[in-house]
Amino acid sequence: MAATTLDATPVTPVAGIAPRERRERRSRRLLGAGAWLCGIIFFLPFAWMVLTSFHSEQDAGTNPPKIDAPLTLHGYREFFGSGTGVSPWPPLINSLTASIVSTLLVLLLATPAAYALSIKPVRKWSDAMFFFLSTKMLPVVAGLLPVYLIAKNIGMLDNIWLLVILYTSMNLPIAVWMMRSFLSDVPGAIIEAASIDGAGLPTILARIVAPIVAPGIAATALISFIFSWNELLFARVLTGVTANTAPVFLTSFVTSQGLFLAKVCAAAVCISLPVLAAGFAAQDKLVQGLSLGAVK
C-alpha cells in the first residue's frame, strides 16, 4: 500500500499529534451519534406500536399523532378477552405447545445426528450435511398441498400435533447444522486425556461434552422455538378453530372485528414478547443459528 497517499501529520512530533487526536475524537463522537440515530430510526416503528398499545382507541387513531396521550391498559384488557368474547388463551397455549414440543423433538433428533456428523465418521458426511441444508432451502409451499391432503384423509386437520411434526421438520436441518458446529468445538485432546485417565463414555459425555455444548443446545432450542412461534402459512392452512396458533389468531383479530388499533397493537406486542425476550437475551447465538453455524 502506498505510504505516499497519507496525510503528512503523523510523523511530525508533539505539536502535530494533538490536533489529529482531537479530530479523531470528534469524528468518533460523530459516528457514535450517527449510530444512535440509526438505532432510534429502526426502533421507532416498534416504539410507536408499544406506545399505541397503551393508548385509548380514540387517541390511537388520531391525525396528527398524539404522542403524549394518557396511558391506559385498555388495549391489553381488550386483548385478554374481557368483553370481546374471543379468548386469546387457546391460541397462545397452542403456540406454546407446538413450539415447545417441536423444539424438544428437534433436540432429540438433532443431537445424535449432529454428534455423528461432528466426528465426521460417516463416509460422505458432508453429503448428509448438505441433504439437511437443502431441505431447509426447499420452500415450505412445495409440500403444503400433499400434507394438507394426507392430513385431511387421516383426520389430522386442525390438530396441533400435525403442526408439531411440521415444525420439527422445519427446524431440524438448522438444528443439525448448529449443533454440529458446537460439537466440533469440543477439543478432541480433552476427551483423549479423559479417556486415558479411565473415564468411560457416559462420564465423558456428562462431565466434558455436556458443559461445553450446553450453551449451544440452548441456542438451538431458542432458534427452533422462535421459528415455530412465528410460523404462519402452515398454521393458517392446516388449522381451523381448535388448533389455531397465536399468529393466525392475530390475523383473524383484525378482519373479524373491524379495526381497533390500540387492541391490535397490544395483541402484537403480547405475541411478540416471548420472541423479543429470548432474542435480546441471546443475540450472538441468534446470528450463529441463522447463519447455520457458518458464522461464529
Binding site: M1, F42, P65, T135, A142, I165, S169, L250, L261
Partner: protein
C-alpha cells in the same frame, strides 16, 4: 497434528477399544454405531419433506380442482403452460424476483453501513445494537400488521400523521396524505421487509467484521494506511464471504415470504409473490394441479439460489475442515 487419530479416539468408546475383538468386525460394528445416530433425523426428514414434494410433483401434472372432483386426470404440462401464459400468474413470478432482489440488496447495503458503524466503540453500543435488532425479533405477522395499520394507514397512520404535523409546523394544513398501500403497494411491502431484514444482514456482517484479525489492521495503520485503504484492501476482501452468505441466506428466507404479502395487501395490486400465489390457488381457488405447478416452480427458483448458497457455505465448511 494428525486429526484422524484424535477423531478415532473420539468415536471409539474406551470400553470397545479395550475389548479383545478382532480388528475387522470391530470396525464394521463401529461404522454402524457411528451411522445409527444419523438415521432417525434422516428418516424423519425424508418422510416429512421429500415424500410430500414427490406428491406435489405428481399433482402438478394433473388436472385437479377440488370444486370439480369429477374432472380429475393427468394433463401433462398444461398447468405449467398456464403458469407462463396467464398474465396474473406470470406477474407472481416477476413479483417474486423483484421483491426478493430489492429487499435483499437494499437491506444488505443498509446492513453493511450499520455494521461498520457498530464495529466502532462508542458509548451505549450494546443499547444501540439492541434497538437495531428489534425489527428482526418482532413476530413477522405482528410487524406486517404494524406497518399496515399503525404506519401506512392513510387516515390515522403514523407516516401521514407525521406529515400533517410537519406541515402544520410550517403553518400549512394541506399536507399530502397518500394512501401508501394503494399508491405504491410494492414499495410499501418492500419497505416493511427491508426494515425487518436489515438487522439480520447487520448481525452477520458485524460477526464478519469482528472476526477480522486486528493485528493486520493495526500493522496497516502503522504503515500509514488510511481508513478508506483499510476498508478497500483489508476489510472488504475479508467481508466478501460474509456478504455472500448474508445475501444468499437472506434470499432463501425472503423468496419464501408469505406473512408480509398476505397481511399487507392480501396479494393485491401486483404484490402477490409465488408463495402467496400457491396459497391462494390452493386455498381459495382450490385448483390443486395449478397450485402444485406453482410450488414446483418455487422449488426450481430456490434450487438455483440454493446452489450458490450451498457453494458459499461449503467453502466456509471446507475451511473449517481442511
Amino acid at each position: 497434528m494428525s486429526t484422524p487419530s484424535i477423531i478415532g479416539q473420539r468415536h471409539a468408546p474406551p470400553a470397545v477399544s479395550g475389548s479383545a475383538a478382532s480388528r475387522a468386525p470391530r470396525r464394521q460394528r463401529g461404522a454402524w454405531a457411528r451411522r445409527a445416530p444419523l438415521l432417525p433425523a434422516l428418516v424423519f426428514m425424508i418422510v416429512v419433506t421429500q415424500l410430500p414434494f414427490v406428491g406435489t410433483l405428481v399433482i402438478s401434472f394433473m388436472r385437479w380442482n377440488a370444486l370439480d372432483p369429477s374432472d380429475k386426470g393427468f394433463t401433462g404440462f398444461d398447468n405449467y403452460k398456464e403458469e407462463f401464459t396467464d398474465p396474473q400468474l406470470r406477474s407472481a413470478l416477476t413479483t417474486t424476483v423483484v421483491l426478493t432482489v430489492t429487499v435483499v440488496l437494499v437491506s444488505l447495503v443498509l446492513g453493511l453501513g450499520l455494521a461498520l458503524l457498530m464495529d466502532r466503540k462508542f458509548p451505549g453500543r450494546g443499547a444501540v445494537r439492541t434497538l437495531l435488532i428489534t425489527p428482526f425479533l418482532v413476530v413477522p405477522v405482528a410487524s406486517a400488521l404494524l406497518w399496515k395499520h399503525a404506519l401506512y394507514n392513510a387516515t390515522y397512520g403514523f407516516i401521514n400523521g407525521s406529515l400533517t404535523w410537519i406541515w402544520s409546523v410550517f403553518g400549512s394544513d394541506n399536507a399530502p396524505q397518500p394512501d401508501w398501500l394503494s399508491t405504491s403497494p410494492k414499495l410499501a411491502v418492500e419497505a416493511s421487509l427491508i426494515w425487518q431484514w436489515t438487522p439480520f444482514m447487520m448481525l452477520i456482517l458485524l460477526a464478519g467484521l469482528q472476526s477480522r484479525p486486528t493485528d493486520v489492521v493495526e500493522a496497516a495503520r502503522v504503515d500509514g494506511a488510511g481508513n478508506w485503504d483499510i476498508f478497500r484492501y483489508l476489510t472488504f476482501p475479508h467481508l466478501r464471504r460474509y456478504l455472500e452468505l448474508a445475501a444468499l441466506l437472506g434470499t432463501v428466507y425472503v423468496v419464501q415470504n408469505f406473512d408480509a404479502v398476505f397481511t399487507l395487501t392480501s396479494g393485491g395490486l401486483g404484490t402477490a409473490n409465488l408463495p402467496y400465489a400457491v396459497y391462494s390457488t390452493f386455498y381459495e381457488a382450490h385448483d390443486y394441479g395449478q397450485a402444485s405447478a406453482e410450488g414446483v416452480i418455487v422449488v426450481i427458483l430456490s434450487i438455483i439460489v440454493a446452489t450458490f448458497a450451498l457453494r458459499s457455505v461449503s467453502s466456509l465448511l471446507r475451511e473449517e475442515t481442511h
